[in-house]
Symmetry: D2
Subunit: 117 residues, 4 copies
């Protein structure tokens, strides 16, 4: 029986989601350790939202869900919010790396959702 | 310090999501045990999507995420698709119960997203 | 075809897991809002661990996984740790309720794992 | 404030978990598409268990949970079961690749749990 494969673009998107997901989980831990301004509820929520959304987006793309395109759109939003929140914390390599992973994922998700439009 | 509480409507929505989530997980198991037409990839994907989406929607509402309203809209779609897929399997109480839980969750999510519009 | 059902005890355990899971998610949000001593990394990690573990335990029990018994043992540990951490925060109804849900889940998981030994 | 870092071994373990997790999710989709003997409930459950367990193990290691070592032990078991189940399906590159990712993750988790003993 024929098995439909993920397209290379989809695979790139899944990888970007999994990178952002693991960066966000690491960064949540980093924030807990840093304390102070890092424990701003808005920052923490944004990181938790982004971790959940990127993981679910990866799952749905991997299973070729009919909702993949829609979830990519929303995942890009969650990533943009997390990237912005990370970039606001200056001079912290962990936050910067996390911001970059989220930014890259947002772009990949947007291009994915456009391609399949 | 003041702690913002979930509204009663939000709590109802979270409960509806958690009911649909656990019904979908049970129903995935039921389909694996039934075999045959129950293992249609489209049906299985729809149940997996709905389980993931309702769980994430509950999580995001419980943490009062700024994306709650958007995820409620998408969750309602996933629930509608799952409810339809379940209702197509006739004379099976598990599928019927799951369809009803998904239908109820879709309505609750839609009303939630409207209230916060 | 015959469909194996969850036993009533297993259903009770799944419900206890889902209650503890949602209480932990709510309590994580409560801690973020309260700030101060509520943002102790050890407390937050314990709540996150317990939320993850109870959800996974519920999933594995619902799908009648061969590892259900083992995960129930570990879930009981995570619940005990979360209950203790919650109980340490005095005069806070949210923490108390969460502690009770975790305690009840630990007991249910332990009795589940014993029954299936 | 000092931020405790994951050890290189821990990072290797997290990466192995995330690889196994994404291979299992892809393989679940592959099985749905292949149908027939691929939809054996025991195989599907094993893949679902392994996907859940590897993801949670990665999460708990990334947040330096006190339960990391215990979950690594259990994760190695779930990976062994999934690897065996995959290897039983002959002449299928997807199953073989998934089996190898699970085998590698099992070894990494075992060495992790030993190091921290």
């Amino acid at each position: 029986m024929h098995s439909e494969q993920m397209s290379p673009d989809m695979k790139t998107c899944v990888d970007a989601c999994l990178s952002a997901y693991s960066m966000c989980e690491e960064t949540i831990n980093h924030c807990l350790q840093q304390g102070g301004e890092y424990l701003d509820p808005a920052l923490m929520r944004t990181l938790m939202d982004c971790a959940d959304m990127t993981r679910m987006c990866a799952d749905m793309c991997m299973r070729m869900s009919p909702m993949s395109k829609d979830i990519c759109v929303m995942c890009a939003q969650a990533c943009d919010m997390a990237a912005e929140a990370c970039m606001r914390m200056k001079n912290d390599p962990q936050m910067e790396q996390c911001g970059q992973a989220c930014r890259a994922c947002a772009e990949s998700c947007r291009s994915m959702s456009g391609i399949r439009a």
